[in-house]
Symmetry: C2
Subunit: 373 residues, 2 copies
């Protein structure tokens, strides 16, 4: 893996870059659609291609439990299994063990938990999770980490930081397939001293990339952003920085200004399935009666298939009638909105007008949709 | 509307034809995917285009109740509302009143029923239903008819026949938009004398096309086929014949041999959502464990996107993981299978080898999938 910072913004920490991965190049800042179980919910691989997705995120925790490593190995790896020939990043499952599974025991050795699917007892160790991701043949793999909730005590968070650092070293030791780039994860909650320690120790490992984990675990973005900004500044300039699990469109714009290069989030897909649409004029709740006869596309500034083809009135009807097609069309738009937002951010950085772009974007988002008073 | 019989089979009643409609031409025999509420479930308009759908079916009953005629009128008609620019046939809602709604009263005047959506009391008359379909701007509209269940007494069925004939005459009288072709519906259950009477009276109206209704209401295909064959032979040769709501792939092949030109059925879409797949080697239940590691496409003889891109193992995983994408990919294949089946039937008719094609097809379907013992 190579990462090239192509251009740094003059009035912020924003940068435009290029990630060269085994299955293709990724232009940053980039949003990675979430395909937890090997598909982005309600979309097909060609939908993703068409809207310009360059890399997707899958989850080791979910895929390990179902369909299982034998099934993915039989297909010749995760790319072939999914029918997706472009880059894939897999999350390690650390976050999922602590949020989805019934946790039995965490020790320095690893985590023992009960599967949320069939209740079976499973052990994850840092070495094993590197091995699983290497066998998947992914382009970027995440280290196993411990993710305490935001309300955990500082000493519990400090313990999680130290354990995650230990696991980072062991992941590094187990890493053998160099086409799969290993990213370390900075933990430390909203405690700057812990984040600094975590970032410094990880930087010494000289990993291909670094993630900021442990956000969106219950804290507010007002609490999170100063920590994100400080932490990003502590990470090596020439390595990609990935802010895990964040966020709303305005959060992405803000975080790019703090030097973040990579994002993933379930919001565009999950909100789509709930009838909430992201547009250049803010969010739009499609079930609202004001859209019943609205012949405009979801976002007049958008050129996705949904916006080229269908009216708000039709899409609202599909939602009210519980049609699966509504979920597909809405997801297509929302993911397209996130991906094209990153493209516009990148363009603004390259043209030295990021700060103006960000201010205008946040302003338009705050104003909201004039059609929905 | 024009209908041209291009070629008649030498050893059966099968024929290949061409329907010229306001929004395009349709080559027969044809399968019309069911888009009850203005979308084929789990598919987009471009999915349908790609798999070669030439005409879709929507339902007046559903669309009248939701989103309502005002909403479709505001879009400039049903085609624009749905983003589908090719032919549309609407069913009148007769069948739905008798199967979905809480029926309050049927008289010669019309039907009074309670909406299955909000419980409101609604009246349908033959004239009004013609008016609704004309306002939708559809290519083919069906007359309002009365559909008794298969277990109804012969006298109840005879009454429904007479009422449906009365409604056919009144529909004809109310018909003003000639771009919307009005089809009459032959009723009569499995009683040949009633079917004959119904067909003869309708033929005198010289309507653009004729449907065989009241099948798939509880009787077996063994009971239905002799009646279908006889009834089809009583209808004018130069008018299209539409067998409503039928059936499995083998039923379609059989009915074409009896002179049927047009089909619709929820089986390919509904079965897809339940994990059942139609293939050139018979049906396949994708949840079965035998497909867990199966790297073959659903149907090696199929060239749809799903079969070009994904393995049975992957699709099975998506089903087991409750992914919406599974429903889309499976529906795409099943509908594609039905449409390409009709294309192959048509080719066989044009090349004077329909009987051989039908025998081979029924044979292969009966044998089933060798992978699933």
């Amino acid at each position: 893996m190579r990462f090239i910072v192509e251009h740094g913004d003059q009035s912020s920490a924003a940068r435009a870059g290029r990630l060269v991965l085994q299955h293709g190049e990724v232009l940053t800042p980039i949003f990675m659609p979430v395909g937890t179980q090997g598909t982005v919910k309600a979309l097909t691989a060609r939908d993703l291609q068409e809207i310009g997705a360059q890399i997707i995120l899958c989850n080791t925790y979910h895929l390990f439990l179902r369909p299982g490593c034998d099934c993915i190995a039989a297909a010749g790896g995760l790319h072939r299994f999914c029918g997706w020939q472009y880059p894939i990043l897999t999350d390690s499952g650390g976050y999922q063990i602590f949020s989805l599974a019934a946790l039995r025991k965490v020790s320095d050795e690893g985590a023992v938990f009960q599967s949320h699917i069939d209740g079976s007892i499973v052990t994850f160790t840092p070495e094993q999770i590197v091995g699983v991701q290497e066998a998947f043949g992914v382009d970027i793999m995440m280290q196993l980490d411990e993710c305490p909730p935001a309300q955990a005590t500082k000493s519990a968070i400090a313990e999680a930081v130290n354990r995650s650092l230990l696991w980072a070293r062991r992941s590094y030791g187990a890493w053998s397939r160099k086409e799969s780039a290993l990213f370390g994860i900075v933990q430390g909650g909203v405690h700057l001293d812990l984040r600094r320690h975590s970032a410094q120790v990880l930087a010494e490992l000289s990993l291909p990339g670094y993630a900021l984990g442990g956000f969106s675990v219950g804290e507010t973005m007002v609490e999170a952003f100063p920590v994100i900004e400080q932490t990003a500044s502590l990470l090596p300039y020439d390595k990609p920085r990935y802010l895990m699990g964040i966020g709303f469109p305005e959060d992405i714009v803000t975080a790019v200004g703090m030097g973040i290069d990579m994002f993933d989030c379930v919001l565009p897909t999950r909100c789509a399935r709930n009838g909430m649409c992201f547009t250049s004029q803010g969010r739009l709740k499609l079930r609202n009666a004001c859209y019943k006869l609205d012949q405009r596309p979801l976002d007049p500034a958008c050129s996705c298939y949904t916006c080229r083809t269908h009216s708000r009135a039709y899409l609202r009807h599909l939602f009210m009638a519980d049609e699966i097609t509504a979920l597909t069309l809405m997801t297509l738009h929302n993911v397209s909105f996130y991906i094209s937002l990153c493209g516009r951010i990148r363009e603004a950085i390259l043209e030295n007008r990021f700060s103006r772009f960000a201010a205008d974007f946040l302003d338009a988002q705050a104003k909201g949709d004039p059609a929905d008073p």
